[in-house]
């Protein structure tokens, strides 16, 4: 080890060991907060969208989503495709959905001829309740009433965004049903067919595609839309643990599933605006982190500057008795690295042992997602590295400024 580094390390360890605990604690506290600023602020920003992505994946698309082609209402040869899916070992569960746009109407019994009908445009979906629940678990999102069972007759589960009490938004062209709760009879119209059904449950989710739908048991929905060929509009696949959704997608495409359907992973199916927002929020997170880094470097600069100013006499004495300025600078660099590393280490423990699990268990209730804290280890370690490098520079510069002052002036406290 070079002599100046050895002496610098010797001085730094003594200075740290015998420093005031309060001062050391305060500096490390600042470093921990800086680290959290670097990691948590951007992590929450990204996590806000990650929560939305996770919700869409778990409640709607699952790992792989197969949907009808843009110019088709349904997936042709669905039974054969379902058969193929059932033979894939990577697929743990799947659910097939019939889907057709329609209108739900609430006040048809009580309104006068002159009254405006209380209607809402909805996506009607026919599902196998058990299979759907095993893939998306939307049965757990029921907030009133209960989820569908296979033998439910003329019963419907309705998404919260179709009801005024859950989605009180007055947007021109967008209407919701009023005074509809569990047990209320409503009319569903698909094309020219209208059927009166009873609301069995109300489903609340932050995923638009889930909350804007009305769900029926598939056998009845088939009769409502008049389809007997077994062709569905959507199939959501949940892959087995460890399996790669992209590999499953590729297998399906290789077996010809792409001829009659769009086969996408949950990532492929993300709306463009979501992808754009993820990129934008990532950029914002980096910008905030950069500001955090600047604040950290200024903090360390001030701390080391004040420390070096108050110790100027001793720096002068060190130089006076022949200790090289580089050794003294090295001691300040070591101290800065110590503060940055200990602060980062405590920050890492705080983030990975407490904050990430906490936010995972208790997501932040944002209006459009359940926000979690996203802190990929690689990115976090990169930020630790950045923090250490910044701190070293911020510690070195003020130390150098004081060390370069005239030795005797420093010893005598002259300016």
């Amino acid at each position: 080890m070079p002599l100046n580094v050895r002496i610098g390390f010797f001085l730094a360890t003594r200075a740290l060991r015998r420093a005031s605990l309060w001062t050391t604690g305060l500096i490390i506290g600042v470093m921990v907060l800086t680290f959290l600023n670097l990691v948590v602020v951007s992590g929450i920003l990204v996590g806000l969208l990650e929560g939305a992505v996770v919700a869409v994946r778990t409640q709607y698309t699952s790992d792989v989503i197969i949907s009808s082609l843009n110019d088709k209402k349904y997936i042709e040869n669905s039974p054969n495709l379902l058969l193929l899916i059932s033979t894939l070992p990577e697929v743990r569960a799947y659910t097939a959905r019939y889907r057709q746009a329609g209108v739900v109407e609430a006040n048809y019994k009580t309104r006068k001829d002159t009254d405006k009908p209380n209607t809402a445009n909805a996506m009607m979906v026919g599902i196998n309740p058990a299979k759907e629940d095993s893939v998306t678990g939307i049965g757990g999102s029921i907030v009133e009433g209960s989820f569908l069972t296979p033998d439910d007759y003329d019963k419907v589960v309705i998404g919260g965004y179709l009801l005024k009490q859950y989605f009180p938004v007055e947007t021109p062209g967008f209407t919701t049903l009023e005074n509809v709760g569990v047990g209320t009879k409503i009319r569903m119209s698909v094309g020219s067919v209208t059927r009166e059904v009873t609301v069995k449950g109300i489903l609340k989710s932050k995923v638009d595609e889930v909350s804007m739908r009305a769900y029926m048991v598939d056998s009845q929905f088939r009769s409502l839309i008049g389809r007997n060929d077994g062709n569905v509009a959507e199939i959501a696949l949940k892959v087995a643990p460890g399996a790669d959704p992209r590999a499953v997608r590729d297998t399906l495409l290789a077996r010809g599933a792409g001829i009659n359907a769009k086969v996408q992973t949950y990532e492929d199916a993300q709306p463009k605006f979501l992808k754009d927002m993820i990129a934008t929020f990532g950029m914002l997170g980096t910008a905030f982190s950069s500001i955090g880094l600047v604040v950290a470097s200024i903090t360390i600069f001030i701390v080391v500057f004040i420390n070096a100013i108050t110790r100027r006499k001793f720096i002068g004495i060190l130089k006076g008795i022949g200790i090289h300025g580089r050794a003294i600078e090295a001691s300040y660099v070591f101290q800065s690295v110590f503060y940055a590393l200990v602060g980062s280490l405590l920050g890492l423990i705080l983030v990975y042992a407490f904050l990430v699990p906490f936010f995972y268990a208790h997501p932040i209730d944002f209006p459009f997602s359940d926000g979690i804290l996203v802190a990929p280890l690689g990115t976090t370690l990169l930020r630790v590295g950045l923090l250490v490098v910044t701190t070293v520079i911020a510690g070195f510069i003020p130390a150098m400024m004081i060390i370069r002052k005239n030795t005797l002036d420093s010893i005598l406290g002259r300016n």
Binding site: L11, F314, I321, G322, I323
Partner: protein
């Protein structure tokens, strides 16, 4: 041997120039114990700082063992201070976060001695001034006299060519001052060159030669002994 020729040192504050040393011709021989006296502001500490390479003169020349200090780079001056000189300051000038042993060992380690060897040498130096039982005490845990003796240990541990002392007893009580001066006398008997600035006549009387300064000039030079 240290020799100065027409040494001057002035301080400038804005447009005001204050000359402190006004042409000092001075010589200190090897093995000599030299005392410098004078009233406050006479320039005695300033002279000590010039010849001990802690400061740079405004004019004139300083030669140490034939080396013209004017030609030395800052690094060379630093190495000279580290290897050839020892310093005892009025206020002890110990580093508060280092123990007595570490304070003394530090310059030895800077001379590229291993920590073990530096600590052993430092321990011997501290034992010599009667502080063998205070090795691991911080300066704040020592009395003023003990701190000054640690400072002397640090100054002599590497066996310097010249020991510079700037009013080493000014902050001490009589008992502690006597111990410090006894140490100086003993070191001198062993051949140590000592240049000491002091206010106190009885301690100056222990030196071989006494130089008196006034208004930046040497006004008298007295040989006390042999």
């Amino acid at each position: 041997m240290i020799e100065t020729k027409n040494l001057t040192r002035s301080f400038q504050n804005g447009d005001v120039v204050t000359p402190v040393l006004k042409g000092i011709d001075f010589m200190a021989n090897d093995g000599e114990f030299l005392a410098i006296m004078g009233r406050s502001g006479a320039g005695k500490s300033t002279l000590l700082y010039q010849i001990s390479l802690l400061d740079e003169p405004t004019g004139g020349a300083i030669k140490i063992d034939g080396h013209d200090t004017h030609r030395m780079s800052e690094d060379e001056r630093m190495r000279f201070r580290l290897n050839k000189f020892g310093y005892v300051f009025q206020d002890y000038a110990l580093l508060p976060e280092l123990t007595a042993l570490e304070n003394v060992a530090l310059p030895l380690m800077m001379q590229d001695k291993s920590r073990k060897s530096a600590y052993a040498q430092a321990e011997r130096a501290l034992e010599r001034v009667g502080l063998g039982h205070r090795l691991h005490n911080l300066p704040s845990q020592l009395s003023g006299g003990e701190q000054q003796r640690v400072s002397i240990s640090r100054a002599i541990a590497h066996k310097p060519a010249v020991l510079f002392a700037d009013e080493p007893t000014a902050n001490l009580d009589n008992e502690s001052s006597r111990k410090v001066m006894d140490t100086f006398v003993e070191l001198h008997k062993e051949g140590q060159t000592i240049i000491m600035v002091t206010h106190e006549e009885p301690y100056a009387a222990l030196a071989d030669r006494l130089i008196r300064l006034d208004d930046g000039k040497i006004i008298s030079e007295t040989k006390r002994r042999g």
